[in-house]
Amino acid sequence: MTNTLHRFGNAESFRDDFIVFAIASRGKNDEGALEKQRQFLKMAIPFGPVNLGDARNGGCLRPSKAMNPTNHWNRDVTPDFEAVVNGLQNITTVAAVFDNRLKAEQFLQAVRKVDLGLSINISTSIEGAEQCCHAAGIPRHSVGYSLGFEGKVEKLPNTQVLSLMTMCGHGMVAQSLAKKMIDWVKEGRRTPQQAATYMQRFCSCGVFNPARAVRILEDARHRST
């Protein structure tokens, strides 16, 4: 899963995008990992994440299989972090998404102290991750760089759509939905916050960053590129 590595944007555009995630390796440190991952998720909540999720069940906003029709007028968009913690039933990848570096740094420091033994990664700009590690007193172990999109790039949409849809690296946020949400914000049919939550529900591992999406949608309201 390179789900968060290939988000589209430059380093500046990742200023509000810090994903800290915990993963176990099969046969190496997966014994007892479920409870440790649950602890990781619980620990993240006080630090104010904008999303929290596991790779099997999704993030803090999820689709409903039995939606009440009245929800068209009064839909609850309150993030349910506790549901993410309680819904974790299998060892998987768990992630906490933060919209500023300080929160991510403080969370990383806290994770270091409890010594879960799981692999802990940060996905953000190269400099942002370096700064987080430095603040937590951790020398980086390994780095995976993204070299960007190549090949038939003419098949890709415009940069705003690309920025939104790549926040689910598994491709669950369709480019036509991202384009539609930009159009709806431009038309005034939905607020950027509402549009972000629609896309967020499609991200099935909970790493979509709604705060960054709102910023991109606000920007797209005034520009089309």
Partner: protein, 284 residues
């Protein structure tokens, strides 16, 4: 995936949420329809749309009334009002579409969800990429384009010809006829999937060669490709070799996934990774 025509009311919501653009309203039957050749079985429609369970006849009647009066109902865009999606029991070879497209389904070969790879995310525990080595992830189809195995086969063959071995704990590797030829099994070549990752590892000295080879093959495939480069940092947490090399080759990476090194082997039965298995050091 199929859509039950008895339930569908042709609201069109699902046509926007399909990552492959494979759902359309059939003008003849006036129902949403899935283009089975383009559908990658990602289940984004089934899992991502909220579902109501309204009576289809009532909804169709209301929609006709609204249309006649030129009124526009403004429903939530991420809802299927009649729960019309009906997952199919997939069989081989079509089932590989779901394995490489629905991130909720763990790959049997690795036990990892998503694209089924660990890369350097667990390098602190596995020792997969050591100092002096470079790990590559070559991903096809991302974002939102999709790829057929036939295109991935072009890359794996060329890598094999160059004497590069493939990471064993990787879903694509399990679909190769053998490591030496890099050929992907014939019965899945026309299957389309959301994306897949080829993983290799080479000595540092072959970094430039691999990047140039990948760049060359990219021109022959009908999809997008994104390259990830994984390195082991030194004792001080620095990478003073690979990043400058990438910059010399004209790349200016902006984003990275950083392994903090907090992981350790805790399973009682697991041995320490003193001598990790060479996954792609090359035969030549």
């Amino acid at each position: 995936m199929r859509i039950d025509p008895n339930k569908c009311v042709a609201c069109g919501n699902c046509t926007y949420v399909c990552p492959m653009g494979a759902i359309y309203i059939d003008p003849v039957i006036k129902r949403a329809t899935v283009d089975r050749d383009e559908c990658v079985e990602c289940y984004s429609c089934y899992n991502g749309l909220s579902q109501e369970h309204l009576n289809p006849t009532v909804v169709r009647t209301m929609r006709k009334v609204f249309q006649t009066l030129r009124l526009r109902f403004d429903p939530e865009p991420d809802v299927c009002p009649t729960a019309a999606f009906a997952p199919e029991d997939l069989t081989w070879p079509r089932i590989v579409r779901r394995a490489f497209s629905d991130p909720r389904v763990p790959h049997e070969s690795t036990g990892v969800e998503g694209r089924g790879t660990e890369e350097v995310k667990t390098n602190d525990v596995t020792g997969r990429v050591l100092v002096g080595e470079v790990g590559f992830t070559i991903e096809f189809g991302r974002p939102g384009v999709g790829v057929r195995f036939r295109d991935i086969d072009k890359m794996t063959r060329r890598l094999a010809q160059a004497g590069i071995l493939f990471e064993k704990k990787n879903p694509i590797t399990t679909l190769l006829k053998n490591q030496e030829s890099g050929e992907i099994r014939d019965d899945i070549l026309d299957e389309k999937i959301m994306s897949a990752i080829v993983e290799i590892k080479v000595p540092l000295a072959r970094t430039e060669e691999v990047i140039r080879l990948v760049h060359q093959v990219e021109k022959e495939v009908d999809t997008v490709v994104v390259l990830g480069v994984g390195v082991r940092c030194d004792e001080q947490g620095e990478d003073s070799i690979v990043l400058p090399l990438l910059e010399k080759l004209g790349y200016h990476p902006q984003r990275a996934k950083t392994n903090t090194g907090l992981g350790r082997i805790t399973n009682a039965s697991a041995a320490a990774p003193a001598k990790p298995e060479p996954v792609g050091a090359g035969r030549s």
